[in-house]
Symmetry: D2
Subunit: 313 residues, 4 copies
């Protein structure tokens, strides 16, 4: 359960409010505004504000291109054109703000994307809750031997049990010791008057990186799509990908035309290098091409065949 | 007249729309949403979208400080605290989008602020209108002799007349030649079928930098305040300051508590260097301090006296 | 002649100096350090400082991947891998600083790239030189009818002559009037004691955007390559492309392995959308595919055929 | 001991190299280039590259101000002027690259500064070393009761012992379990062939945030000074302040004039709000001013008195 009753009440109250605005609105996104979309065992993603819609992208493009754009008159066509030719600035004209609860090690990957605004819960000021991420057994992938940063099949039986035991026990124990060192409740009351509590900014260092933190994360649509192109990708770590997947759903509700163009021209496509393009051209001309003469490395050759759906011999 | 009848009709139509939203709204800003606030002779500033309000700043700060912030319970107090101690990230949680029409030379100063999103009208694609900035006579400042980047008293009589004549005639002539080189109407029709028109991207190079351009400019509140602290300052060039002044009014409508704090703690205050602080301490202790022994340069000494409202002897 | 004798002497003196350093050096770039590489009629590009080399990219990647990267042991292979998979952060570890002299309208395109540091010559403080860009006759492209932002064949005969006449005369006249309004030499001496000079920040507004300005522009290698991918592209305006072309040569001298990878994987390749990829797969499988059933728009279909070197029927 | 013999050998070898360069050099910084400056129990800061020097700041300012700057002819004077009037862009023309080893919880504070380039050691790819931060007993501050984010006096006796015992034992135990789950050596050899090792990207989640990570961090001088103004401040957490202190020493070696100006005009000074300035003016005029009529809150009043070195009554 990612939410306390208090938090749920706060969300319900925010959702109950409604006001008139002259701004563009995205009704499908309004439907889920403030709602906590669950991710992992205790995490969530909430859209807490947004600015702009599909039409705002079009409008910004029209300012740039002025009277010169009459011919591409349809919104979807113009958005596709912008996406295809990487005219990125009109997508920067939309903005969205998320409230996210996520494990610290996921937050550390996420924060590498610097072109966003962040306000994170501070364990210097406040006491962290006793909430930590424990993967489901089916996600306990073994280390991949072919890919340094990947997972192979999940552990099974005793191997899986032992891992889950370690994660649970160590998380609980480090939290108990965190609480002991603090020697105060989250309301600031002293627990044991015979001991002096350690400063919060120090005590927190005993927590493992699967503990949950939370933040407000605000980003423009262009940079959000860039984030999603990397993090909703099969090569991303599962634990961040599930956040990206949920966020992609919110993008669909917010700017459906942009989302379609993104899937068609960015996520679903492939980039061919100069040599790969040469090889494809020759194949299309009916030539047999083999890896060696293509100039591609064995790895690139395989990646190209896979992208083109050709079985390697 | 900054707006064409078409543009005014478009604005009226946008202003007539209203939709329900669950998002925070800023009613005083909604009142002027989309309206063109006139600046200089043909320019304007229009707020075309916004996200967040005073409460959004408070909310972001509360996420950061969590349960630790109970004591600073009042919103205005918390906002003042954030502004005073330069905790800037909560102010990044609000965003605003302007449509601005401005002379090219003002746009060139403005664009130095890189932490914003911009879509500018492109003279590669489209034809610029015949609109250029001519200062009022009272703004035709002479070159200041004490300050390399400043203006002294305005020119008068024949000197002023001659300047205005030059600016008007040269602007009009370079535009006429621009149109001649283009040899097309803004609807793309050929004017003189016996001549070939020059590409727009080339013809534009004949225009002077007092011609008007326009752009969408989107920025977060923190970076907007930084912009205003520099551009609403008496040292800023008059022609950009008038834009900043109008924008400051929109900030007041949008986030009144933040605006008050900004005026109190940023615009209205003064920064004392280490040596200036030493001098002030000694003066408060009743000592006579003179420039030489203060360690301050003559220029710094004068700046300090002026800031403290002390007449130099 | 882009350089005054004074400037040339300064450059010669800077080039004559040499010091010992423990930092990585790029000898081929040192050869041309500080030299003015001419661009257009009065412009130039000078490399005035740099940090890092090919090995610095490799080193940064190795920190990220740590002991896990033993297998990709060769520098060129690792750099290709990073470029191919858009692992961009290691390329941010190199930095370069240019001194560029360029027409104002080129500077306005250039500055849209915000992820760089800029110090531009200020016409508020100082007086601009009487130098403006006049295109060669062969670059006076007509407006393209198929492409709103492109040029067709060059004007000829009287059409070209008239354009060159306008550009030359208007530039010279606006400068003469600029000088008249200033009423001071560039050493600050009054020219005509019976007139009051206009402030520099105002007088400059009479200059056309083909006048030259100059700046220091500092950027990291990743963002420089992004800039070059857009501006060394055939779709970029000729007047900025010639700057990008010269800069690409400096990149070749600085980080030759990165430059090769950039040309192979970024500049020389092609991106296929999801539908284009489907079409290519089917063609490779021996099917006839036509535009309609491909789901691609006519324009996309043509772009795909062109990229694949297939003649449209 | 922060360095392994291998690392020390690598550093010695890098330090032994020397090449000729035409670039500006900072001899005092060259002296310590690549050397590991120890911080905390296992951390370090190393300068691994730099670009520019004091003169580069001056040169950039001169480009901006052009011939207009003749009067401020001395470098130190110009640098002081730039710092005092917050003309920040010339400081962006210098760049420095650090290699830093630091506890994860420090890295998490540090990374909030987004205007820098980072390559961090990745525990997805590689195995972390068994190195964690244990504070010295004298740094085990109690939670401050007056300041939510501060420390009071250090714990003593049994309280301190217990904290150190917890931190040591939990760190060691979570690492042992991390290694057990990995079931591989850092050379990739399987430890126990009867068990399947967990993927590195998952196993790492069992480590506490006092474990050391490392990164390359590259930043321009302006943003570095901003970082130092916040992190070398007494309000910063001790564990990040010690890094900032060491980095400030490297700045002194690199750009001594800039460093002096920074200490004089940024670190050593004080900012007075509008109301505080009014109060100071009145005091200087001989009036008695008390908190209530000053319009300052009690807290602000105290902060002002403290800044001015006045004993509160």
């Amino acid at each position: 359960m990612p939410l306390s009753p208090e938090q749920q009440a706060e969300i319900d109250s925010a959702r109950a409010q409604s006001a008139a605005t002259r701004r563009p609105t995205a009704p499908a996104l309004e439907e889920i505004l403030y709602s906590a979309l669950p991710v992992l065992d205790h995490g969530f993603v909430r859209v807490v504000d947004y600015m702009g819609d599909d039409a705002a992208v079009v409008q910004a493009a029209r300012v740039s291109y002025g009277k010169g754009t009459k011919r591409v008159s349809e919104d979807a066509g113009l958005i596709n054109y912008l996406m295809r030719h990487r005219h990125t600035t009109p997508f920067e004209m939309c903005e969205i703000k998320y409230h996210v609860k996520l494990p610290i090690f996921v937050a550390r990957q996420w924060i590498r994307h610097r072109t966003a605004n962040v306000n994170e819960y501070s364990a210097r000021y406040s006491i962290l809750d006793n909430e930590f991420y424990i993967p489901k057994a089916e996600h306990l992938g073994a280390q991949s031997t072919s890919n340094r940063q990947g997972r192979a099949d999940a552990l099974t039986g005793k191997d899986a049990e032992r891992v889950l035991q370690i994660l649970r026990e160590d998380s609980q124990m480090t939290y108990d010791h965190y609480a002991e060192m603090l020697n105060e409740t989250d309301k600031g009351e002293v627990v044991d008057p015979n001991r002096t509590g350690l400063a919060r900014e120090l005590a927190r260092m005993n927590l493992t990186v699967n503990f949950y933190t939370q933040w407000y994360w605000k980003v423009d649509l262009h940079n959000l799509l860039h984030f999603l192109s990397l993090r909703a990708d099969p090569h991303a770590q599962y634990e961040i990908r599930v956040y990206a997947d949920v966020m992609l759903e919110t993008v669909k509700r917010w700017v459906p035309l942009v989302c379609d163009a993104f899937l068609q021209y960015r996520m679903g496509g492939v980039h061919l290098s100069e040599k790969a393009l040469q090889a494809v051209k020759r194949m299309l001309g009916g030539e047999k091409v083999d890896q060696k003469e293509s100039g591609l490395s064995l790895r690139e050759w395989r990646e190209m065949l896979e992208a083109l759906g050709i079985e390697p011999k």
